[in-house]
Amino acid sequence: MSDFVYLDNAASTRLDERVLEAMRPYFFETYAVATSQFGYSPGVEAKDALESARSDLASALGARAEEVVFTSGGTESSNMALKGVAMALGEKKGKHIITTRIEDFPVLNSARALERMGFRVTYLNVDETGRIDLQALEQAISADTILISVQSANQEIGTLQDIAAVARLGHERGVLVHTDAAHSFPRVPLNVAETPVDLVTMTAHLVHGPKGVGALYIREGTPLAKWMDGGFQEFNLRAGEENIPGAIGFARAIQLVTVEETQRIQAMRDRLITRALQIPHSRLNGHPVFRLPHNANISFRFVEGESILLHLDMRGFAISTGSACFSRSLEASHVILGIGGDHERAHGSVRFTFGRFNQERDVDAIADAVAEVIASLREISPLGKEAN
């Protein structure tokens, strides 16, 4: 397995050893629950560590520490944002929520769940690059709109939205704005002091941090109902014992992301796109410029993604596909369909996502392997002749 080249960093990433080292004492030494300053010493120590992680994470976001709540991950954070606002404002202000067609499942399925509970949801269309139309967003706002939830970056095609513009618009119209930044933060910086979003979903495991920990930024004064009942942790907003090693690991993982590293990753990604687009009948999905630095998503005509995935797996490469055959839901990628692609384009779509542990030499190796695999699958495809 040591030579295996992992290019599915948007699914999850390898933990960085330095993150593990930072976490280790909180499993074996400072393992007590976080207690108040009048509790026993190990508990106070645990509380101090938790608050220092919170403060580190908050400063990476330009927020104050009290505005950051640790959660079990991006899914919980987005559920908390959408359902928390809906429960807080549904009766008082209105039952209309605006989001996009191409959100990741935590937001999309939270919105659908709220629809079943009587909320009205507008799912904004996106253009062929995956970006929303700000005018359409503005027109969708009505007197009963309580929340706009627009992702910072797309999970499949990597398209970045203009969150600053979305936030300004929400701000002007008095509507709360949530953004799912699980796939972008902190590689694509977000500063809530400059960008007036009210709620931000973040997760650790996509930036070489541990699985099972995330955070939600909640701007001071944002109405948010507590929807998981239990204890009084996390400013009485999120019940459940705090995952202190996780929080420490998350904060450390954020510190380790540097601009230089992101540039190195982007250079590898750019080279792969250039090489892959030399394959006939291929096209880049997503925006050519406004996209995650580590994401490449390419559709190859006349072939199917799961077969590409299996051939590449046999050659030691891990990638992902938007093909219906491969998805757990058996549905073609709602993102590729959302940008106006047909089922064939989803069927032949491949996502490559880079991370810290990829090497420059991997790029030509994967590009060569992809070219060979596509050629051999087209050889046996009934439509392959059209590719020549």
Binding site: E304, L310, C325, H343, E379
Partner: protein
């Protein structure tokens, strides 16, 4: 992970290609769960027996493996015998697979269409 029989057929599919002067040609698409799966089958028939079969398939690994297995089963068979190559028969050859993948076994349908095409040509 797919079983070894599926992986073998998928990695080295049998009878890939086409027959320009085929006696029968048929095509079929996958079921509801995988409508993008697509197989073309060509056959040569001598004295009521399939002497040559070629196929091309686009689809997931099961679709590709199933067309390969279908073509192996059909070789040398009488048209009547070949007509009895069902999705279930091919699934049995391939061994264990997720049930939803039955929708991707398009080979038998394409073969049946090729036999049908041969019959309509000879009877017509």
């Amino acid at each position: 992970m797919y079983n070894d029989r599926i992986l073998q057929h998928f990695s080295n599919p049998h009878n890939v290609g086409d027959i320009p002067d085929a006696d029968g040609m048929g095509q079929a698409t996958g079921g509801d769960k995988c409508p993008e799966d697509l197989a073309y089958f060509w056959i040569k028939v001598v004295d009521g027996r399939i002497t040559q079969v070629r196929q091309k398939t686009r689809g997931c690994p099961v679709a590709i493996a199933a067309s390969s297995a279908t073509s192996v089963l059909a070789e040398g068979k009488t048209l009547e015998e070949a007509g009895r190559i069902t999705v279930e028969a091919v699934a049995a050859v391939l061994g264990e697979m997720p049930e939803r993948k039955f929708d991707s076994i398009v080979g038998p349908k394409a073969l049946a269409a090729a036999i049908e095409d041969y019959r309509s040509r000879t009877e017509g």
